[in-house]
């Protein structure tokens, strides 16, 4: 039994991490070595001798070539990364502020139809992006928002609101009302009580919510490719656009770029690891 347990764990650990390990190895190869008919997985400092060697010459060229503009693209990887960062941060900030305000409203006030509103908010998360993209596209064309950072950030804000509201509602419900009430008895206004008492208590929850909003905006692809194929192209849409590239897939650069792109996500995952379950289930499971 014990051996079986270890086999399961070790085996799955291998499977789970292999694509990222391979990504790391591919990012320090020349293109020929990434598509060689025999696997080359041992980096070395000199060029390998035989054709069937498992070794390859390690190089940092792919990272340097991230500044290269590939056929069919208008910007280098770094330009697209900048779009991803701008859109990600704008939408995260907006979603956390609006979502926290909304969650506070539902948490502390007796609003008519509260439960129905909350479930309406949750249900927007089920919408397949492709099912609403056409009306949004028509709207955006009229308002000149197609292919802009603002347009996509706005859309991501809206699509992250359901998560932000539900997560923040869970965190705010855990802060005892008595704290604010005591502050208000002491003569604070509700706004003062909110800023001095609730905000410090809710800071962790807001940080966790922000991380999940950022990750979902960072990884989004459906809206990015349909609305922003002409400008403010984010990294996932940029990489996907390299398919069918006449120069052939630039695998080392894709691996290097993808690694740079996923590194912050891995870091954030480690940071919020205690709240992963909560974040992924919109706060419906709190552990």
């Amino acid at each position: 039994m014990k051996l079986l347990r270890w086999l399961v764990i070790a085996g799955y650990l291998f499977v789970a991490t292999l694509p990222l390990v391979w990504m790391g190895l591919s990012s320090i190869k020349q293109r020929d070595a990434t598509i060689s008919a025999n696997a080359r997985f041992v980096p070395s400092l000199s060029a390998p001798v035989g054709e069937d060697s498992a070794r390859f010459e390690a190089t940092l060229d792919p990272y340097r070539q991230l500044a290269h503009v590939h056929a069919g693209a208008r910007q280098s990887f770094w330009g697209h990364l900048k779009s991803s960062v701008t859109i990600g941060f704008l939408s995260t900030a907006a979603a956390v502020v609006l979502g926290s305000a909304c969650a506070y409203g539902f948490s502390r006030f007796r609003l008519a139809g509260k439960q129905d509103w909350l479930f309406f908010i949750l249900s927007t998360r089920f919408m397949p992006p492709l099912a609403v993209v056409v009306p949004v596209l028509i709207m955006y064309r009229r308002m000149d928002l197609q292919g802009t950072h603002l347009g996509l950030a706005l859309l991501y804000t809206v699509f992250n609101l359901s998560m932000a509201v539900w997560l923040m509602k869970g965190f705010l419900d855990e802060i005892p009302r008595a704290f604010e009430e005591a502050a208000m008895v002491d003569g604070y206004s509700r706004a003062q009580a909110f800023v001095r008492v609730v905000l410090p208590e809710a800071a962790t929850g807001m940080a966790v919510t922000a991380v999940f909003c950022l990750i979902s905006a960072w990884n989004e692809y459906g809206f990015a490719m349909t609305l922003n194929s002409s400008g403010a192209v984010t990294v996932p849409a940029y990489f996907a656009g390299l398919q069918g590239n006449i120069e052939g897939m630039p695998w080392p650069q894709i691996a290097a770029g993808a690694l740079v792109f996923v590194a912050p996500i891995v870091a954030f995952t480690v940071l919020v690891r205690k709240n992963l379950l909560r974040g992924m289930t919109f706060g419906t499971i709190k552990q």
Partner: protein, 299 residues
């Protein structure tokens, strides 16, 4: 007590409505309005390039229900949802059972296992294309070294659908594992101790105690994954593209119809039909969460 009286004072709720209003307005503007607009478009011959719009009556819906391509995409998506959800559930549960006991380095192992679900499906799907490549992919090279056959994972007509299932299972098994772990952790040890006194075998304990007691959270996990898998778009786009007869899902077909063929009217009719399915599932989901929260509050 004073605080309670404050909240009850008439007019106090106005601030509450001001706080929730921006979110509700945005959600209505970007969800309800597009849905209604979709319905309007679905009765017209609207094209992506613009031009004059004419009413077609229910002709688009007639096409949706008759066209075998739509029926095929619906069937394929259902198969996809059923396959990935059941594979992820079983694998996730097995992993959770293996990981539930404490061991040194558990947190590191757990975090490493959880990383795939946080990554971009579009980017990882593209990179899986390199791993699964029939000629120079690492998987086939490993299979070759082991003396096994080397299938064309992403170009073989009968296989590529299952390759996408495989990538999805890689991405989302950690999610099931995480939820299953939470469920297992919530079972009070005293129940296991009682089973031990009764000399119940491990199988019996699993079927009679472990599974029934984790079922509610596993149900939630299944609903989360099912609603997500129903939208499957990124992985298909990254591996085979939107117009592949053996991998086309509802979302990629919708993309093909609207953005490649430019048929907005037809696409909208199609989207409205799909949304009925999505809403049905969403209703099941929200009811489930509602019930779970009520039992939790009662406990």
């Amino acid at each position: 007590m004073q605080g309670a009286r404050r909240t009850a004072r008439p007019g106090r709720q106005r601030l509450g409505w001001w706080l929730v209003a921006p979110t509700l307005v945005l959600l209505v503007g970007f969800n309800v309005f597009p849905l209604l607009y979709n319905v309007v478009l679905s009765f017209t011959n609207a094209e992506l390039t613009g031009g004059e719009r004419r009413s077609l009556g229910g002709a688009n819906y007639g096409r949706v229900f008759r066209d075998p391509v739509f029926a095929g995409a619906l069937r394929r998506t259902a198969l996809f949802v059923a396959s990935v959800v059941s594979a992820e559930l079983i694998l996730g549960l097995v992993l959770a059972l293996a990981l539930v006991k404490r061991f040194p380095g558990k947190h590191v192992v757990l975090t490493l296992l959880l990383i795939p679900m946080m990554l971009s499906p579009a980017v990882m799907g593209l990179f899986w294309g390199l791993i699964l490549n029939g000629n120079y992919g690492i998987l086939n090279q490993a299979l070759g070294a082991a003396g096994l056959s080397q299938p064309q994972w992403l170009t073989d007509r009968d296989l590529k659908f299952w390759s996408i299932v495989l990538i999805d299972v890689w991405m989302w098994t950690p999610f099931m594992m995480l939820i299953a772990l939470a469920g297992l952790g919530a079972i009070p040890p005293s129940i296991y101790e009682a089973a031990q006194i009764d000399r119940a075998g491990p199988w019996r304990v699993f079927w009679r105690i472990t599974l029934p007691m984790t079922a509610p959270v596993l149900g939630l996990a299944v609903l989360f994954r099912a609603t997500d898998a129903l939208k499957q778009f990124d992985l298909v786009m990254a591996t085979t593209g939107p117009n592949d007869a053996s991998t086309q899902t509802l979302s990629t077909l919708l993309y093909q119809v609207v953005f490649r063929d430019g048929k907005v009217g037809l696409g909208s009719a199609f989207a409205c039909t799909v949304l009925v399915v999505v809403m049905a599932l969403a209703t099941v989901f929200t009811r489930y969460i509602d019930r779970m929260q009520k039992t939790e509050a009662a406990a």
